[in-house]
């Protein structure tokens, strides 16, 4: 990686160059200005790049060289499950019979696609222990909102529209309270206890006749299994509320414990995490929702059904919350997840969980002497350290994260969950080898030593990246959110 700026594509543009190949028009020409009369014809062309095909490839290759992915190196980003993205998934998603089919084609011409969807739904029902699954939600947060809307519709159908409160533990993902708000609920925060688990007394004191649901990640964002889950289910169900499972951490319990068996009424999955749909630099994701029979009448429509040997979409679903997305969800992503599940099989998925959890515990125990470990019990697929000890030496968690960049590692998730000071949240996943884990552990130990002996080198990190720490305050105070030509800037 060289440190020179990579010019913006607009800065390497040269009038007259092209990067496309369209066929000659084989129908009569038309007069655009008369076809688009009355001010509809665009006066000035959009200032898009003018570059050759090689210019494009070099530009994006240079950009890719300034980017770190799982294929580049270890990526222990807590709660994000940055596991290997299998290449067969990419090949399958590009088969013309999957990539080039239109969502509004007659059902008889897309039976293969619908068969895959149906089979995937059944696989996800078995994995989660839920009765019905919809593939429509486009991502985890979208799934959360979808399920909450269903819970709201369920309560309203029972004449209980006074159930306006959604309970969320203080360690929850930020999307949980945000989804509750956009589904029309008020959020009530439930405290964690000294062991990092939901404080049962606090939960007991906060449930009541206005409780719509409790949203829970299990294991939670500290990587700890909520051992009192059955008691919590009893408390929430006891007041007439529903239990919602945030599936972000399913990689910790697949084939070991199922949300349906724990008493959950609704669950969303992040297929781009546990089931290897790639993260794509932030998306696209896929966030199917599974529910119990009781909530099933409220599923978004259309519902995919199998009648004899034919698959069909059912639109006549009177109690449905409606559509949550045009068409049928992110087909291309859940097709990758399906391919992954079929590559792993039942024993493979069990091995995934066992190895993900073993890797996390190994790292946690080896790092325990060098960093504060707020919760000492075995973890599941991830664990959270605190940088308190190093902070006293003037080295913050942010500094250590930046120092990791110098060694070619993507840092862990930091400053989350919010209930741990200077949090460092590490999730290794099962696809990493012991050698990789050891190399990361040794680096963390070295950084802990540097914090004691040579703090500047950590505080001033990174030293080897294409760019140093960026001025985020400036970015927010004087937002520059698009490129503007220099001469236009001068005129402005």
């Amino acid at each position: 990686m060289h440190k020179d700026n990579q010019p913006l594509i607009f800065e390497i543009t040269k009038a007259g160059r092209i990067g496309y190949s369209l066929p000659e028009l084989d129908v009569p020409e038309i007069d655009l200005s008369s076809h688009l009369s009355g001010g509809l014809l665009r006066e000035e062309s959009p200032e898009l790049p003018e570059v050759s095909e090689l210019d494009i490839m070099r530009h994006y290759t240079a950009l890719s060289n300034r980017n770190h992915g799982v294929d580049t190196g270890f990526y222990p980003l807590g709660s994000c499950t940055m596991k290997y993205n299998p290449k067969i998934n990419e090949a399958v998603a590009r088969f013309p019979g999957f990539a080039n089919i239109h969502p509004l084609q007659d059902e008889s011409t897309v039976q293969g696609a619908m068969e895959m969807m149906y089979d995937l739904q059944e696989h996800l029902e078995e994995i989660t222990g839920m009765d019905e699954v919809t593939l429509q939600p486009a991502a985890g947060a979208h799934g959360e909102w979808t399920a909450l809307m269903m819970i709201r519709a369920f309560h309203e159908a029972n004449g209980e529209s006074h159930r306006t409160k959604v309970l969320v533990p203080d360690s929850a993902h930020g999307t949980n309270p945000a989804s509750a708000t956009v589904a029309g609920f008020d959020t009530v925060t439930v405290k964690s206890n000294e062991f990092g688990l939901v404080d049962i007394e606090d939960l007991q004191s906060k449930v009541g006749p206005d409780t719509a649901a409790l949203m829970l990640t299990n294991p939670n964002t500290l990587g700890l299994f909520e051992e009192d889950i059955l008691q919590m289910a009893e408390i929430v169900h006891g007041v007439g509320g529903k239990l919602y499972y945030d599936g972000a951490n399913l990689n910790a319990v697949m084939a070991k414990a199922r949300p349906g068996d724990m008493g959950f009424d609704a669950v969303h999955l992040n297929l781009h995490k546990t089931f290897t749909g790639p993260h794509g630099g932030g998306g696209p994701g896929s966030g199917p929702v599974g529910v119990t029979k009781e909530l099933a009448p409220f599923l978004p429509k259309p519902i995919l059904v199998k009648e004899d040997d034919r698959y069909t979409f059912k639109y006549d679903v009177p109690q449905s919350i409606g559509r949550v997305k045009p068409f049928y969800g992110n087909f291309g992503i859940y097709l990758r997840a399906y391919t992954y599940i079929r590559s792993m099989g039942p024993d493979g998925l069990k091995a995934v969980t066992e190895n993900a959890v073993l890797n996390a515990n190994y790292m946690m125990r080896r790092l325990e002497p060098y960093f504060d470990l707020p919760y000492k019990q075995h973890c599941k697929h991830e664990f959270v350290l605190s940088g308190r000890r190093q902070k006293k030496l003037g080295v913050r968690t942010l500094d250590m994260a930046k120092r990791l960049l110098d060694f070619g590692f993507h840092p862990p998730t930091i400053y989350f969950p919010l209930n741990v000071e200077e949090a460092i949240m590490i999730e290794p996943t099962e696809t990493e080898s012991k050698e990789t884990l050891d190399s990361f552990i040794d680096t963390m130990i070295q950084i802990a030593k540097e914090a004691e002996e040579n703090p500047e080198i950590v505080q001033e990190a990174p030293h080897t990246t294409v760019i140093n720490r960026l001025d985020e305050t400036k970015a927010a105070r004087q937002p520059v959110l698009r490129y503007i030509k220099e001469e236009e800037l001068v005129n402005a």
Partner: protein
């Protein structure tokens, strides 16, 4: 068990267990209460090898009629357009597709810069000031525009034109229900939004008017007029625009749009049975801090070098939690990259040329259909779709067309009862004169 995605060996396991101080992996799961511990094996299909699974899924894919084998005249929001081959080469670089959200800017400059360029291209096409880094799709982007307008104006009513994509309208209704916002439909007249009805429905509690450009019937609406009427009552104009059409159409930003959304699928993104596609969301400087989704901004490092970061994050769920303006987290970053590459390849000249070809080919198809005696409904300005009246049910006609190698148009009777036996035909630049002629000929034969 051994699996190519899992590198653990027996020796590794023994060493790791001993470092932890336990004897078996099972001990790590003892915190799961006995009662909920899953015993036995999941009842799912057994694992398949790479080659046998590839074969099985290839056979499944081959059961579908795809737009490479058939000549498709189906659009209705998802289009078969020229996809520069270079798009797949760029998005297959795994530094892009195996990365997470660029939270560590020092090692994510590639993704951040690519998205900054995407934001710029969307601003250029739409004529808006600010674009975010993407939304799930055009439908949810439109829905979020509606709820954002309601939040900003503190009003609780949204008007949606009947000429907006029916599935997008459904999504608007679902999202609005979440926040107790009423949605009313403005009826269509002659294939465009009925302005008289709009004036009747519009009141001081109307947060926004949502229209589509070109609309679901392929007609180019007078959005300036709709905007003027809306603004007079203090509402916002939200335009859902096909970005490919903006190569030749006056951009919504010049016609008074406060928010412009849409789907970038026409630029380099495969149909994929409806997703993933790529919503975009653009607005004015004034509304910048109200907009949902991630934004990339330019800044500098300690040595004054230019760089890019995620910015204005105080709007977002991970900071604001229950006060956030939207719950969106994952977006469609990789597809925004694909769209950027396609927009770059087409560039300034190509976006105009491709949009022009769509209009010319559709005009040709229209004239040939009329010559053959078909009624082409609505006399307004079309882009790449037309509404054609048939004398037989669309399903029946399409079934016969399929036998001849065509994927027919969208059956409008499914969502507009008054338009039964009417088909929405899309003619993109991908369709040749020969294919258009053959389609018209077959349609004639079916009706003979």
């Amino acid at each position: 068990m051994k699996h190519r995605y899992i590198p653990m060996t027996d020796t590794d396991r023994d060493e790791m267990l001993s470092a932890i101080g336990i004897a078996t992996v099972d001990e790590l799961f003892e915190d799961i209460p006995e009662k909920v511990r899953f015993k036995g094996e999941l009842n799912i299909k057994p694992a398949k090898s790479e080659s046998s699974l590839t074969k099985e899924l290839a056979r499944l894919a081959a059961k579908n009629a795809d737009a490479r084998t058939y000549a498709s005249f189906l659009g209705a929001g998802v289009y078969d357009h020229y996809k520069p081959i270079i798009v797949d080469h760029v998005i297959s670089r795994s530094e892009f597709y195996t990365a997470y959200t660029p939270y560590q800017p020092e090692i994510s400059q590639g993704e951040l810069q690519a998205i900054f360029e995407f934001q710029t291209m969307i601003c250029e096409l739409t004529g808006m000031d600010i674009s975010n880094s993407s939304m799930y799709d055009g439908g949810t982007a439109l829905a979020e525009a509606g709820t954002m307008a309601a939040g900003h104006t503190r009003r609780t009513k949204i008007l949606v034109s009947e000429t907006v994509h029916p599935e997008a309208r459904d999504v608007v209704v679902s999202y609005a229900a979440g926040q107790f916002i009423d949605v009313l439909t403005i009826p269509q007249k002659d294939g465009v939004t009925d302005v008289a009805s709009l004036e009747e429905l519009l009141d001081d509690n109307t947060a926004a008017v949502l229209v589509q450009y070109p609309n679901f019937f392929g007609q180019v609406e007078d959005i300036q007029k709709i905007g003027d009427i809306t603004h007079d009552k203090g509402g916002l104009l939200v335009v859902s625009a096909n970005p490919l059409a903006l190569g030749v159409l006056t951009p919504p930003g010049k016609l008074g749009a406060d928010i412009t959304v849409g789907d970038a699928q026409p630029f380099g993104i495969s149909e994929q049975f409806g997703g993933p596609h790529c919503g975009y969301f653009a607005t004015t400087k004034k509304l910048m801090r109200k907009m949902p989704g991630r934004l990339v901004g330019e800044t500098t490092d300690g040595e004054g070098r230019r760089g890019y970061v995620l910015t204005l994050q105080a709007r977002e769920q991970h900071i604001r939690r229950d006060k956030a303006t939207s719950n969106i987290c994952s977006n469609q970053a990789l597809n925004a990259l694909a769209a950027s590459v396609a927009m770059t390849a087409l560039g300034k000249a190509g976006t105009k040329e491709i949009a022009y070809q769509n209009i010319a080919k559709t005009a040709y198809a229209k004239s040939m259909l009329e010559k053959a005696g078909f009624e082409v409904k609505y006399g307004g300005v079309h882009f790449n779709e037309i509404v054609v009246a048939l004398k037989k049910p669309v399903k029946e006609v399409n079934a016969k067309l399929l036998e001849k190698g065509f994927i027919g148009g969208y059956d409008l009777g499914l969502t507009y009862p008054e338009l039964s036996n009417h088909v929405l035909i899309a003619v993109t630049e991908q369709r040749t004169k020969e294919e258009i002629d053959a389609l018209v000929q077959e349609m004639e034969a079916i009706h003979a």
